[in-house]
Symmetry: C2
Subunit: 381 residues, 2 copies
């Protein structure tokens, strides 16, 4: 165990139909004007937007709407959102969508209270304040509904960078698992990969010996696998969708790394570089990177990889555990090779160069150079 | 999974020497006058009180001291604390001690802002506000440092009752595991029993099928057993003390029951009745009640008891799992029979009658009557 501070003030309201409470929650926080941020038209077609607007109206809350968030949210769209938030003098951002919508909403919340360009905060400027963020989650995956992270892509510079700040934890996040029943199975698979990726970064890159945290991670991974298998067989499996949703939240809310000391996010680093260049789903990128990285990294922490194999799959060797995870990704139809998402091997150098910039920013440039990142990616050809 | 709200706003600061931050944390919250509540002289002798006072002085915080909290905190002492808090117009309560000190501090925090007797809140009056509570934890066990519970004993009426309110979550809790190195092994054992008791109540009495929460509980129990065994062999085992401390916090901070639906606290109910009459340590009472209750209850939820045996001890039957837990309590020298704490079998009726009052208050009077509680207790003779 290492020193840590844990402070996660987000209020989670979990259950069917709970989006009807959003007006009352905003009222309780004294908020009268919001910017409602969303992605594509699915929340219009499904009727969710109408239900949310009805709740806002009942709470006498003025609402500006701002749709069109991309699945890898773009800086350009974020900047426009900042302009809107300022113009309409909103007091809070209400994100209705998945992790991308929430991430962009957090960035808008930061930009709205700043005099400088919002991208400054992604390249090192410290966040000192933000508008309060409220969320209604429609896709379980990124954990953004209960953490202080925001990832946005600068298309001009091809940088997919992040903010991590206590000021952008959502005040209230409403998790209605029924909203996820219609998530297509390919995106459900990518979400499962993402949740697993969130917990294995710390699990494998920390120092050994923090068994409580190991067990929390193993419980999360086993539940992700179990519930995803149930959903693949029956997409409307209510219990599995609900359990999956809460598990994905716990996978990146600060619980599993508390006390583990230093660790790093190499898989996310490489994937961010990939999806900054190719607009592929984050989870699809991760299922390609993870088995490759695990093969490359296993010898640096053999006991933990053996533990993983035994606890998750009941297998006897690190290699067998990695192979089992890769095979599970294949089973749920998430890609495991670059070619499956049409990234040619010839582009590895460009991805590695992009990732190297992130490695330096994240303080792991010693281990992760252009050369070693390329070596990892070649294991995914 | 069932609907739930999870909102745990307590900030945890974990690590050696972190009590030195208390002045700064109170400053950050704008607090200038506190009532410092503690138990016996051990925090004076150990130098902890001096270190805390130095931090308060550096933060220019006025402090009234109030010692003498009992291990089963008494209503009479709580009432005196309320008088002091009002007299000195304190803006916060600072608890320095274990769960008893924190529980009494929460009650004082409620009483200080109320016109009526503080006991009213233990027998049904709703808590609407409380002074902010800050804690420096010296004994890992009750989880009070990160939850909204407070248990106080009314010696006149022999009632050990509780408050559960969002208003009494500590604002900040400082967990320095080094402060627990000197906890005697018998109290360490009682703490281990308490932490296990906190998670098994929900684990066994909920409806089956919430596997994520099952796995979180199993991870907590396995870690409690593993770290307690290490501490018994080496009381100053820093890693084990640290891991034990955080595990005990997670055992009752709302994480494990989130989503499990209805459940009950029969073991705590019976133990509260026991220690309301006999002033025995809470954990010692629980290690007597738990195996008896498990033997009595196992047939009502056989698959979960089989799961417990397999996951925790690698055993094949419910009965073997219960026997293994009881045997482990014996190994760590926590009592498992009433006679070990000098409660005669003839007193079972009186305990059962007291517990029946709690059962009604907690809404489980259907299953737990004077007769069934006596039946359970007879299994501990």
């Amino acid at each position: 165990m290492f020193d840590f501070t844990f402070h996660n003030p987000t209020k989670i309201i979990f259950g069917a139909g709970k989006e009807a409470l959003i007006g009352a929650e905003l009222n309780a926080a004294g908020i009268t004007r919001v910017l409602l941020v969303y992605g594509r038209n699915s929340i219009v077609k499904s009727g969710l937007l109408d239900r949310v607007m009805a709740s806002l109206k009942a709470g006498d809350i003025t609402c500006s709407q701002y749709g069109g968030v991309d699945s890898n949210p773009l800086l350009s769209h974020t900047r426009e959102g900042v302009v809107l938030a300022r113009r309409d003098k909103v007091e809070a951002i209400l994100a209705v969508g998945g992790g991308s919508v929430i991430d962009e909403s957090k960035a808008i919340a930061v930009g709205a209270l700043s005099d400088t360009d919002v991208w400054d905060f992604f390249v090192g400027k410290e966040v000192e304040r933000a508008l309060p963020v409220f969320t209604i989650l429609t896709l379980a995956a990124t954990g953004s509904e209960m953490n202080g992270n925001s990832v946005v892509t600068n298309a001009e510079t091809r940088q997919k960078y992040n903010i991590a700040s206590p000021h952008v934890y959502p005040k209230v996040s409403i998790l209605n698992p029924e909203l996820t029943h219609s998530v297509p199975l390919n995106y459900t698979a990518y979400s499962a990969v993402d949740a697993i990726a969130h917990v294995i970064e710390g699990y494998f890159t920390k120092k050994p010996g923090t068994h409580l945290q190991d067990r929390l991670v193993e419980g999360i991974i086993k539940t992700v696998i179990e519930t995803t298998d149930l959903i693949m067989a029956e997409p409307g499996h209510a219990q599995a969708r609900a359990s999956f949703m809460w598990t994905a939240t716990l996978a990146l809310n600060g619980l599993t790394p508390a006390g583990i000391g230093e660790y790093s996010f190499p898989n996310h680093m490489i994937e961010h570089a990939m999806s900054a260049i190719y607009n592929i789903p984050h989870g699809a990128g991760l299922s390609i990177v993870m088995p490759a990285w695990m093969k490359w990294y296993a010898a640096k922490n053999p006991s933990q990889f053996e533990r993983f194999a035994k606890e998750i799959f009941g297998l006897d060797s690190a290699a067998a555990g990695i192979a089992a995870l890769e095979q599970w990704f294949v089973t749920i139809k998430s890609p495991v090779r670059l070619g499956e998402v049409k990234i040619p091997a010839a582009d590895i150098e460009a991805i590695a160069e992009n990732a190297e910039g992130l490695a330096r920013q994240w303080g792991i440039g010693g281990l992760y150079t252009k050369e070693t990142i390329a070596e990892i990616l070649r294991l995914a050809v």
